[in-house]
Symmetry: C2
């Protein structure tokens, strides 16, 4: 197959990990007889520096013209003082919206080899951590109106709007149910229905959908309770579906309990197969340029792209197995080091995964 | 001293814990020569059953006429099907607003005797968990407009508004700085300033205040990152100040890492000394009526009331020391049991604390 991949190199340490992911993709192409064409697209800090805009239209167009998009991570101290509209994150939000990527899939799965790195006790980890947070990605308070007004008394007031309409909930709700159907068939809708109208609308839509997925065991949980349960008993979860902001908070918490956020990829999809694939970790400005950042999450993001956007399950498996084999050999990057393991550089980890392929 | 205490007995297992807290208060009164008068006020499920309203005006008035308010916990399956306005939680929200309680103080502190119950690894727990979340309690998306409209295409859309004005931020920001001044002098403002206008207004107000508290080390963190850091390295925190919804989520997560949510009290204050004191745990419908619920959080809430509303530091110390002594003796309730300890009933724990007093 021939596929065009838009590549967003990202900021700070990000180009280092993207480079390794492309090496892995090249090897896969060679081995399985595919052709991947890479089109560089600038977004985030890089785009601000080049064009004064975190996502110029022509860069978004490149992404829309590609079969899928691979991203490292954007942002860094250099751009932090900028006003809201010109910040790197705004480029990411506009990319998600511009590509219509309403469904963000964030796996929280522990690699058995890295289980000792979890901050949770072994008794809890042993019960298994393997769930997915399906996060709505282009609605809610992220994309509602934000405004700051001056009140008659001279005081400033800011207001952020959190809107959700039925079709937005329905399409992500279906992804939640379908994801559960392919797994252990348990879906938990997380919200704050005791306070928010949006949450109550979520529940009413979910109840309607529930009838169409009788094979899925459906439950509901308040977000505050969920933040507790993820720490107390993560084994209870299979698939969580939730709105944008709650998904942001809970998926970061969930990634941390795996003990290895340098290992976690994510996919964002809309209608069709074009997606955006990115590590859930940030751009790691503190270690940029040192060739020590862990490239695995980006490499696994590339694997997810093969699986979900290109239907290349075998190729994706091969990458994921290669990562497992490397861990089995006791090879690690600095973020995951533990006794008796060997510490590799970023490119060294790329080499090791390539070799295992 | 003579003090009037409005007592909200609460729902499900709540009256069982309130009863023990009043026994402890009575003993303190006797020992230190105070007089506590208790005025029953109905809120939540009890008020719905009696008056068809989770907080009738006359019940709020009783609270406003008291020197302080002690609450167990409200809510339960019985009232879950009711529409938003008539649910038990709405009574709690109206009580907070009606009493002007903008500052909710939620300690996350590990009792050394219960450290083994934390879901976190000993290496992390040993570094110490002792921080306070100062949560804004009567603003933000909890109290902004909630509405559900039907769009021209027949589809329903819900919108929740998250408003914050400068004076609301300033008064809670000051509580954050002042709380830090009395402790390890570190304040972290948690927000989502890369997305929300309200968060950006928070930061601008906090920056203004910062100059007035030069002895406090001030920092900022995004809420998603904070959800990770609480699990990864809770020892880094001294005081966290945050808006209502983020505070709800993070304080529940923080309470869980202590391993003993049956032990955590909370205070809510506004201008003046009249406060609302309540455990952070819920009404435990699953174990109601069995005399096995842990009364300690409610007893410690009473201690907080003595300290913060009545200026009775010695009396508060006495209660807290009594709780410590009981734990030292290996006495526990079912929720906190571990090997070698003795399991007491709810009233049995009340007896033990009374005896230690
Ligand atoms: C950078 C930021 C805007 C973004 C978000 O909040 O969605 C990030 O935290 C994420 O989760 O991808
Ligand atoms: C019951 C609910 C409305 C309440 C809240 O969200 O504030 C509770 O979770 C709490 O934290 O006290």
């Amino acid at each position: 197959m021939e596929k065009k991949i838009a590549v967003i190199w990202g900021d700070c340490a990000s180009p280092e990990i993207v480079k390794q992911a492309l090496r892995v993709l090249d090897r896969v192409a060679e081995k399985y007889g595919h052709k991947f064409e890479y089109i560089d697209a600038a977004m985030g800090g890089e785009a601000i520096d080049k064009y004064g805009d975190p996502l110029p239209q022509q860069e978004l167009d490149k992404c829309l013209a590609a079969d899928s998009v691979l991203l490292g991570a954007v942002g860094g101290p250099k751009w932090e003082g900028l006003p809201g509209e010109q910040r790197p994150e705004k480029g990411l939000l506009r990319l998600r919206a511009g590509m219509g990527l309403y469904s963000n899939n964030r796996p929280a799965k522990i690699w058995p080899q890295l289980a000792p790195a979890s901050p949770l006790k072994p008794e809890i980890v042993e019960k298994g951590i393997d769930f997915i947070i399906v996060r709505e990605l282009i609605g809610g308070v992220y994309f509602g109106e934000h405004r700051t007004d001056t009140l008659p008394n001279g005081e400033k007031q800011a207001v952020d709007l959190m809107p959700y309409s039925e079709h937005e909930i329905e399409r992500i709700g279906r992804i939640g149910f379908e994801t559960a159907q392919k797994r252990r068939k348990k879906l938990c809708c997380v919200d704050k229905a005791n306070v928010l109208d949006t949450s109550r609308l979520w529940r009413s839509v979910m109840h309607r959908l529930q009838a169409e997925y009788p094979d899925v065991e459906y439950s509901e949980m308040f977000v505050d309770n969920c933040a507790m349960q993820i720490v107390k008993n993560p084994a209870q979860f299979d698939v969580i579906v939730t709105e944008n902001m709650f998904g942001d908070i809970l998926s970061d918490e969930a990634s941390m309990i795996t003990g290895s956020i340098g290992m976690i990829p994510s996919s964002s999809l809309g209608e069709g197969t074009r997606g955006l694939y990115e590590p859930i970790h940030g751009s790691a400005p503190d270690i940029a340029g040192q060739n020590i950042v862990n490239p695995t999450a980006c490499i696994l993001s590339a694997a997810m792209m093969l699986r979900y956007s290109f239907g290349m399950a075998e190729e994706a498996d091969a990458i994921e197995n290669a990562v497992g084999a490397v861990l089995d050999k006791g090879l690690r990057t600095a973020d995951n080091m533990s006794e008796g393991c060997k510490c590799l550089s970023c490119s060294g980890m790329g080499d090791a995964i390539l070799e295992a392929l």
